[in-house]
């Protein structure tokens, strides 16, 4: 029972991180029909921002401010900074290719991914940077009742992920910007003809999606401690898988897909073998695609004939 509960906690934590990154994939795909392969590297940039905020406050062992203030600064700066970076990338790398054949922005996205990874390598070097979370947040703090043992960092990650997902849903469904995003996703030309500022809407979408990736990078740093310039590749791959399994373009689907992938990894490691984790996870992807190509919560695309 203890193992089951622990794997559940592990899976929810991992899945929450994947879900936040997957949301960005889905949102961008929704408005632009573009698979932004650089998205995983935005998560990496967010993780580095979080690391440098810790150093700015004096380092993990000697923070010059209360921990909640430092954490808030990490999330805000990572979210805001990566959000702005996402807008810049959209403006200069993707906007000029909006009406080009689909392969062009896809290749550009790959190029942006390599650019981000190697820029990080140039500026930050190749060594792992360590958050050293346990130096400022004790593992002992958390919920430890019976078989349930979950430390405060994981609780924070899961709760924050839920808050962000709910917040995003509220923005998309109950705000003017959200209506505009949905309109552009449905039909960009028609939205433009109706007076919607498409450039601004797409930019805002990139900002939100990238901010979520940046915040999830900080979460990954806090939970997993290590950040390095290539960390976005693997996380991006799993998040992309999550977005596709859940239904690319669907926000709920991205969340479901992220949690599913996270839980699958955790339980397969715990009850089968860690050797087969990736084999089974990607097997699930193939199975879902064969049975339901649009993803678990994806919608059928209608085409006018």
């Amino acid at each position: 029972m203890r193992v089951f509960v622990q794997e559940l906690v592990n899976g929810l934590t991992q899945g929450s991180v994947y879900a936040l990154v997957a949301l960005g994939y889905s949102m961008v795909y929704g408005v632009l029909k573009l698979l932004n392969f650089a998205h995983g590297d935005l998560y990496m940039v967010g993780a580095f921002i979080g690391y440098f905020v810790i150093q700015w406050f004096g380092g993990a062992s000697a923070l010059a401010a209360p921990v909640p203030i430092v954490l808030l600064a990490m999330f805000l700066l990572a979210g805001g900074g990566v959000g702005v970076l996402g807008v810049v990338i959209e403006r200069f790398a993707y906007r000029p290719l909006r009406d080009a054949p689909r392969i062009a922005p896809l290749i550009t996205a790959l190029g942006v991914s390599f650019l981000l990874e190697n820029t990080a390598l140039l500026f930050f070097g190749g060594s792992y940077r360590i958050y050293n979370t346990s130096s400022f947040i004790s593992f002992g703090t958390g919920i430890h009742i019976g078989v349930l043992s979950i430390d405060i960092v994981r609780i924070m990650v899961i709760v924050l992920a839920v808050v962000l997902m709910v917040g995003l849903r509220l923005v998309v469904n109950h705000t003017k910007l959200g209506r505009q995003m949905r309109a552009v996703a449905a039909d960009r030309e028609a939205a433009e003809m109706l007076g919607i500022d498409v450039d601004f809407t797409i930019g805002a979408t990139f900002f939100l999606g990238s901010a979520l990736a940046g915040i999830s990078g900080v979460m990954a740093g806090l939970v997993y401690n290590s950040v390095w310039n290539y960390m976005g590749f693997t996380a991006g791959l799993y998040a992309f898988t999550a977005a596709v399994v859940g239904g690319i373009g669907s926000i709920s689907g991205a969340v479901l897909g992220g949690l599913l992938i996270g839980l699958a990894q955790s339980f397969i490691t715990g009850y089968v073998s860690s050797t087969y984790t990736d084999l089974i996870v990607f097997g699930i992807l193939i199975a879902v695609m064969l049975v339901r190509p649009r993803g678990l919560l994806g919608r059928v695309q209608l085409q006018k004939v």
Binding site: Q6, G11, F233, S274, D278
Partner: protein
């Protein structure tokens, strides 16, 4: 149409010119020759170094590079040679190691190579070096089968896994008496080689072994740690990425698991792996404890303050090649064949490693040692025993 052909031709010419020009982004040259005197022409040659200068284990690659530069500088001064070090970044991956190796082979000035660092890289590049007749000496590749004859120009200045693996396993059995343990490989040749040597020893001792496998790209081990039962008192991590070992230790602490980590040489990193109570074996000594190395230690601390056990073997390997070049210089011009011959007959009575350097017919260091360190509560590495 004519205009397009002209543009294409110019672009192609520019591409060819760039390719024939300076070296690629993965290699760069560092000249470490001593200041030239006005008398006599110095014997010149180049040594390549293949190290993970960037990537997952960049901290080790930086250390290896620093010690190699030190060796070349000291030997140029002592021998009056003008040896140049050419860097090649392999990121500990066989594919990049192959690319760098081919670049080194096509550079006629390079007469010997230090590295690569990883056993999986040696497996990939050994045949290439063999065909080119170019000697290469590793300061950290320990997989036993590397010196079974398939890499005729390969040498190493460290012990093999057939020493480290059984020594580690027997130490664990003798000191911890575990009823059960978990051993986790990181899906690379080095790690899997050690597991294959250690597991039969544990099983023969009646220990229940849970063998797991995780990729080096995994950075969260919570799910694996959750599988550790109260009977498992030891976790064996023959890993190459010390930061991952550190995270494993933190995951153990998060879940309040009372398990001793025993790592192999890949985990030796005073800056990256400091879990108190852990044990780490290594092929290299702590040179700060060798009196004869006092001046080298001072030099090393200036070049790379937080060095571990990866730097000194590379210093030794570089020194062997430097001496082989100096010896070849006495009778003419150093070439790959005469440098290779000189390396084979190396017979140094002492070295930075605190032992003589002489190779057997397979390229292994004769009487190579193994060292075991314990990490104390302050995160410091203390020697426990050596073979």
């Amino acid at each position: 149409m004519k205009g397009r052909i002209t543009v294409a031709a110019v672009a192609l010419a520019a591409l060819i010119a760039a390719g024939c020009g300076s070296s690629s982004s993965n290699t760069s040259s560092t000249s470490t020759s001593a200041s030239s005197g006005s008398s006599g022409k110095k014997c010149t040659a180049s040594i390549g170094i293949e190290a993970p200068i960037t990537g997952k284990v960049a901290v080790l690659g930086d250390e290896q590079l620093a010690f190699a530069k030190m060796a070349v500088a000291n030997d140029n001064k002592a021998n009056g040679t003008d040896i140049t070090l050419v860097q090649g970044d392999t990121q500990l991956t066989p594919s990049l190691a192959t690319t760098v190796t081919q670049q080194f082979i096509s550079n006629p000035k390079i007469v010997g190579v230090v590295g690569p660092a990883g056993s999986q890289e040696v497996e990939a590049v050994g045949p290439l070096f063999g065909r080119a007749g170019l000697a290469f000496i590793s300061g950290s590749a320990t997989k036993t089968t590397l010196t079974n004859g398939s890499n005729p120009t390969f040498f190493r200045v460290v012990s093999r896994d057939s020493v480290q693996g059984p020594e580690d396993a027997n130490f664990i059995i003798k000191h911890f008496h575990p009823k059960a343990l978990m051993i986790i490989d990181d899906q690379e040749a080095y790690s899997q080689g050690l597991v294959s040597v250690m597991m039969p020893i544990f099983q023969k001792a009646g220990i229940k072994v849970d063998h797991e496998s995780v990729s080096q790209s995994v950075t969260d081990f919570s799910s694996l740690v959750a599988k550790i039962t109260p009977q498992m008192t030891v976790a064996v991590l023959p890993w190459q990425v010390a930061a991952n070992g550190e995270q494993f230790g933190k995951n153990l602490a998060e879940q309040h698991k009372k398990v001793t980590i025993v790592g192999t040489d890949g985990l030796y990193s005073p800056s990256s792996f400091t879990i108190p109570g852990s044990y780490v074996s290594s092929f290299g000594p702590d040179i700060t404890a060798i009196p004869a190395d006092a001046s080298l230690v001072q030099q090393a601390k200036a070049a790379f303050p937080k060095f571990g056990t990866f730097g000194p073997p590379v210093y030794a390997a570089t020194h062997v090649i430097d001496e082989a070049i100096a010896s070849a210089c006495k009778s003419g011009t150093p070439s790959r064949s005469n440098v290779l011959a000189a390396i084979k007959s190396t017979d140094e009575p002492s070295s930075i490693l605190g032992q003589p350097i002489k190779f057997d017919s397979h390229g292994d260091l004769i009487n190579a040692k193994w060292f075991l360190f314990h990490i104390n509560s302050a995160g410091q590495y203390k020697l426990v025993t050596n073979s």
